[in-house]
């Protein structure tokens, strides 16, 4: 479609198998700067594998992934780690917060790993927890948080370093509908404010409806752009 932003992440012809089981069989997509895209599809269609390839967590067997013109899939691990620390924010279904740390320290951690002093990191982390409506939970550990609160902390942690790309794998998969709505509304609002591009992998159409567009995966193949030239007969 002509009004899409300039692509920031570009995946082409991705093929990936887990052992003998094919997960991706020629998948591709463009994620534009500031764009929110939902990747949907049935279980086993390759959604999470696609996200892992985009984030550099997995290497495709064939095809390419570029970020801002730089090939991600062939990068050495050191540069990949740097990208994941500074340019990408990744969120998983179960938050994957560190259980021994408070919500505040979980969010401050990526900043401290990047060299920010503890006090300054905690100050910024507190701001981000407020933005996601989790300020009151700053002193709690993950085990003391509800599912929705934990996901909002995980989102704050993913966004605290100011990434240009947020990759979220079923971020509301374990939440009820109202908690899911709060998490998605917070993610979309913050992404609009910061200009971050967001890719959300979900099996839930109501979650996908928060995105600007949907990319559908079926048997490891993407079916993009089905809305182009669509006619609706009332």
């Amino acid at each position: 479609m002509s009004n899409r932003p300039e692509p920031l992440v570009v995946a082409r012809d991705l093929v990936k198998a887990h052992g003998r089981t094919p997960a991706l069989r020629g998948a591709g997509l463009d994620l534009g700067a500031g764009e929110i895209v939902a990747v949907t599809g049935p279980s086993g269609s390759g959604k999470s594998t696609l996200l892992h390839c985009l984030a550099g967590i997995a290497s495709p067997d064939e095809g390419s992934v570029t970020y801002a013109g730089e090939r991600v899939d062939t990068l050495p691990e050191r540069r990949l780690s740097e990208l994941r620390r500074t340019e990408f924010g990744v969120v998983f279904q179960f938050g994957q917060l560190i259980p021994e740390l408070t919500a505040l320290d979980n969010v401050a951690l990526p900043l401290m790993l990047a060299g920010t002093a503890r006090g300054a990191a905690q100050e910024r982390a507190a701001d981000w927890l407020e933005r996601f409506g989790a300020g009151e939970q700053r002193g709690l550990r993950p085990g003391e948080l509800s599912g929705g609160q934990a996901q909002r902390v995980a989102l704050a942690r993913a966004l605290v370093t100011g990434p240009r790309v947020v990759l979220a794998d079923e971020p509301t998969g374990a939440l009820d509908s109202l908690a899911s709505e709060q998490v998605m509304a917070a993610l979309v609002r913050t992404a609009r404010e910061t200009g971050a591009a967001v890719l959300v992998v979900t099996h839930d159409a109501q979650v996908a409806a928060y995105a600007d567009r949907e990319v559908r995966l079926q048997d490891g193949v993407t079916q993009d752009g089905v809305t182009a030239g669509l006619e609706v007969h009332a």
């Binding site: 049935p42 709505e181 509304a185 979309v188 159409a205 109501q206 996908a208 409806a209 928060y210 995105a211 600007d212 949907e214 559908r216 079916q223 089905v226 809305t227 669509l230 609706v232 009332a234």
Partner: protein, 187 residues
């Protein structure tokens, strides 16, 4: 503008609105549209016709007139029977989808009967549904959105979501059916 709720019992909704106290037709129409912001606005003619029927059936009665600086308007109020009818109706369990008359379902059946391409149709319909769900999500998450609008959008989103799940299952069944047919042709 596409409305969310298509058909409802105007008769019982007017009884419900009158439960808050006497009101005239113009005010009832305005309050109806406030409470059902995504429904098709009620026509004045329908309000007055329904009020006359409620009076005829003993469920409402004329409570006087109200000029309020403008033209004189007839005020209506609930009778005891009307109040009971509104309560009874609101408490009745609605028959769960007794008839499958959905247009998408009908089109898929006709596409199969005419050797059409139901799978492509379902894909295009899915895109249309997602587009509408995006509009509704934007509507309900906009700052300051009234509760009535949020509830109406939730209702519509859940029904569209149910359609989508049916379409996904149907697409999978069609794929299986095609595979079985191809296999049978080969044998």
């Amino acid at each position: 503008m596409q409305y969310i709720l298509i058909s409802m019992s105007t008769r019982h909704i007017l009884l419900g609105l009158l439960a808050k106290g006497p009101s005239h037709g113009y005010d009832l129409k305005r309050r109806h549209d406030e409470h059902f912001p995504q429904a098709r606005p009620l026509a004045y003619g329908q309000v007055y016709t329904t009020l006359q029927r409620l009076v005829r059936d003993g469920l409402a009665e004329v409570a006087g007139t109200d000029a309020d600086g403008g033209p004189e308007r007839t005020l209506y109020r609930l009778t005891e029977d009307g109040a009971r009818e509104a309560t009874d109706w609101a408490g009745q369990v609605t028959p769960p989808a007794p008839y499958v008359t959905n247009e998408i379902f009908a089109k898929v059946v006709v596409a199969i009967l005419t050797d059409g391409d139901p799978a492509s149709h379902l894909l295009a319909q899915r895109a249309a549904h997602m587009e509408r769900m995006r509009e509704l999500t934007t509507l309900k998450t906009a700052p300051g959105t009234e509760l009535a609008t949020v509830l109406a959008a939730d209702y519509a989103l859940n029904h569209l979501d149910a359609d989508l799940r049916w379409m996904t299952t149907t697409q999978a069944r069609l794929t299986t059916l095609t595979a079985v047919t191809v296999e049978a042709d080969r044998a």
